[in-house]
Amino acid sequence: MLEIKGISVSYQQHRALTDVSMVVEKNDFVALIGSNGAGKSTLINAVSGLNKIDLGSIVFEEKIISNLAPDYVSSLGVIQVPEGRKLFPQMTVEENLEIGAYLPEPRKMYSRNLGKMFELFPRLKERRRQRSGSLSGGEQQMLAIARALMAQPKLLMLDEPSLGLAPIVTLEIFKILQELNQTGLSILLVSQEVLQSLNISKRGYLLENGGINLSGNSSDLLTDPRVKESYLGL
């Protein structure tokens, strides 16, 4: 479904990603793990079209999407939940969801999808007329995910959805992601929560210093000595 073929990304002089390749299959659940500054967000933003790539290519459903405008990439069904939520803080919960359903197709399904979201995240329903900036961290993250889901994505990419959240809320959100994957949604999850994200995902990639150092089934990665030592502290 999504194929990243040997891409390199730089910020001015500084090379952030070098020759990175990875694949997300249909109905896949891929965890991209790695420490601070490894280039995880850079990778996701390159897929979204927010970062330009120097080399390689990104292919989504047989279409080359690298270096295209972000709004075009998202119109193909590649939707990102950005790091730090990035809601529209002055808008209400419902207005945020409305922007999520911006494209014609999702717009037609707006009321049905809105109902679904309120079922998935009941707390958003209680707060639907509240300014999104006034929500708690966990609620904001839920809203960010719901906003992305309103766009009826084919591939949902999440950048550190557990950032700054209480462990119990993280658990809740990861459980929802797993459910979404079971209903057929392909997910690319970027996280520093190595143990938890490998637990819920099917496959994993380890990104270190701008390159993929390890990849495989999540269950295998969990027992890999390198992952164990560097990321799980075992």
């Binding site: 927010l50 972000p70 990035k86 409305e98 922007i99």
Partner: protein, 324 residues
């Protein structure tokens, strides 16, 4: 937040009743034979409502503070004047030229907006301000446009009262259309996209909002109405000069009016333009001119400091708090 205050069904029904009454009342006003001064005064109110409402499309909804909107007003004025001059038309036929003049203003907005709308925040504000100065200087130095002498237009062969009434009704019509467009844009998907751009342009784009196209459409639309208004104004004055129709004060005033009322809704610029024009006129009439300027300036400072989202939101928050 905006839609909460203004689009609930109750207030909608209220608007549906009040607006036609207000419009008919305004349209009939000149026929009650008021002093000509009042007709001209209300004409000015309409003009500013039109300017600040159309500015609001790009400045308020999308958050791109254009400080050069007077350029479109001036371009419209000159385009209309030239249209009448080249084809040596009568005033009423020249007035037809205001529509193509508005389109020319939009076209120039697209050409100017294409590079400029890549800039944000203060950079966009400054470059649009420069655009206003540059267009004023250009017109001043073009002999074919009358240069620094300005341009004379034909006058209508009717009494002052009838003349003023005709322009009053024209401006009322234009202003109504402008406000209607601003209202419709505010509720549309287009408006939702613009508001998303104002909040966070990158995220909006990852939500499939085509930001560059939306911004340039909003900019072109917000240039059209000032262009037409400039044309009507040119015929109204029957003499235009670069210092008058490209007056940067006018640019700044329409921004302030929109911010004063509240730039996130369609009604904000209307309230802002009406109240500030009345306050300004009242002050200049009853207080000495210098003192009037000082009071006017202080008023702005108070509003910007204590009511950054405009007077409307300030007062509606107040009442909400009391309700609770």
């Amino acid at each position: 937040m905006k839609s909460d205050q203004f689009s609930s069904t109750n207030s909608n029904r209220l608007y549906q009743m009040i607006i036609p009454i207000v419009l008919v009342g305004l349209a009939l006003f000149p026929f009650s034979e008021p002093p000509v001064y009042f007709i001209s005064f209300v004409f000015w109110i309409f003009l500013y409502v039109c300017l600040s409402s159309s500015w609001n499309l790009i400045g308020g909804y999308a958050g791109y503070l254009s400080f050069g909107h007077v350029a479109f007003f001036g371009i419209g004025a000159y385009a209309t004047a030239m249209f009448g001059k080249i084809f040596s038309l009568s005033v009423s036929l020249t007035l037809l030229g205001t529509i193509p003049a508005g389109l020319i203003a939009s076209l120039i907005a697209i050409i100017v907006g294409y590079p400029c709308l890549r800039l944000r925040g203060p950079y966009f504000a400054v470059i649009t301000l420069c655009f206003a100065f540059v267009s004023q200087l250009t017109v001043k130095n073009l002999e074919i446009l009358g240069g620094a002498d300005g341009l004379w237009l034909k006058t209508m062969d009717v009494s002052v009262e009838i003349n003023r009434t005709i322009f009053y009704e024209l401006m009322l019509a234009l202003t109504s259309v402008t406000v209607l467009v601003s209202f419709l844009v505010g509720r549309s998907k287009f408006g939702a996209g613009l508001r998303a751009i104002k909040e966070d342009e990158e995220v909006a784009q990852t939500m499939a909002v085509n930001a560059p196209r939306l911004k340039i459409t909003a900019f072109a639309l917000s240039a059209f109405f000032p262009g037409v208004a400039g044309g009507i104004y040119a015929c109204y004055l029957s003499y235009i000069h670069p210092d008058v129709v490209f007056d940067v004060n006018m640019s700044i005033l329409q921004v302030l009016m929109a911010l004063f009322g509240g730039a996130s809704s369609w009604i904000g610029p209307v309230v802002g333009a009406v109240s500030l024009t009345v306050v300004n006129e009242g002050l200049s009439t009853f207080v000495k001119a210098e003192l009037a300027r000082i009071i006017y300036g202080c008023l702005f400072i108070v509003v910007i400091v204590f009511m950054p989202n405009g007077i409307l939101e300030f007062f509606s928050r107040r009442t909400k708090r009391i309700d609770n």
